[in-house]
Symmetry: C2
Subunit: 195 residues, 2 copies
Amino acid sequence: MNQNCDIASKIFNTLSFTDRELDILNSKFEKITVKKGDIILEANEIVTDQYYVLSGCLRSFFIDSQAKEHTLQFAIEDWWASDFTAFFDTSKSILNIECIQDAVLYRLSKNDIDYIFEHFPQIESFIRKKLEKAFAGFQKRILGNLSKTAKERYVDFITKYPNIEQNIKNYHIASYLGITKESLSRIRKELVKKQ
Amino acid sequence: MNQNCDIASKIFNTLSFTDRELDILNSKFEKITVKKGDIILEANEIVTDQYYVLSGCLRSFFIDSQAKEHTLQFAIEDWWASDFTAFFDTSKSILNIECIQDAVLYRLSKNDIDYIFEHFPQIESFIRKKLEKAFAGFQKRILGNLSKTAKERYVDFITKYPNIEQNIKNYHIASYLGITKESLSRIRKELVKKQ
């Protein structure tokens, strides 16, 4: 087993592999340690990698033409991060990804995941199911944006990311919810009053 | 070949199959003809099927607690429709799906797609790629909701669905964009002036 230890068994935790298969799989992942504030991906780069988050937290965000930041997602333990739209067809990113809590990541390249899909159909199936869950999460978010108040979306957020709030900045949360910091502050006060 | 003709070759158009395989695959699809106004799925039903749209147009929408409709998606030719969040884990739908242009659909059950994934890994791979594209589309929509004006979102909409506009109601488009019919009308007038 190589220096990555057995990350493959952790990531693909419902699957079984032979030792030889695990050696191959583990050799595809590159362990990376990043610090709070480090940039993992910048907009306009060709996206060739995705990142499995072993610990810590990443934030993916979009910077609009007025230089305003909009948070797409937070990636916490056992999540994957990338600009997937760009990763899927190896095109240029529109997202930036930064580390917002010191993190241990495992990088996997597009070439290597294509190799894995070709040689390990059970992993393609595993990832297809993960993708279904991610798709369902996005569907819920779109419906929330269309039909819910900012307060309801904030409650959804703290349910989805229960332990994240104390570690990230208010403007990250506000920019995820599509509201101002002042609105976020007002919502929090209203919720405290109700308790 | 059965009564469905060869829908499998049309749907999985980049793949090759033997005649025997095509017979199996085609037998899994049930052809359904629906009329404008027909309801294909209602909220709170267990979702066991997805629908391939051969022709026509479906609309999936959410009805909130104030009985207001919010359009999640339109499904046109060569799209799939379902409440996928519920379909993926055979749970109850929160979406409704109605036919908004007379349509020919091919119904595929969860059991049958699971059978297909098990016996045709190349189809699982094909669907995984479709799912990636759908995921990317949702990501774009979320970023659009966070960062774009209603006018920019309307332009995105008519680019994504170029031939749909003349056939569907204004409140469908407005409820997809998350704006009022009046705002939609104002945006259209502004765009006409600019031309």
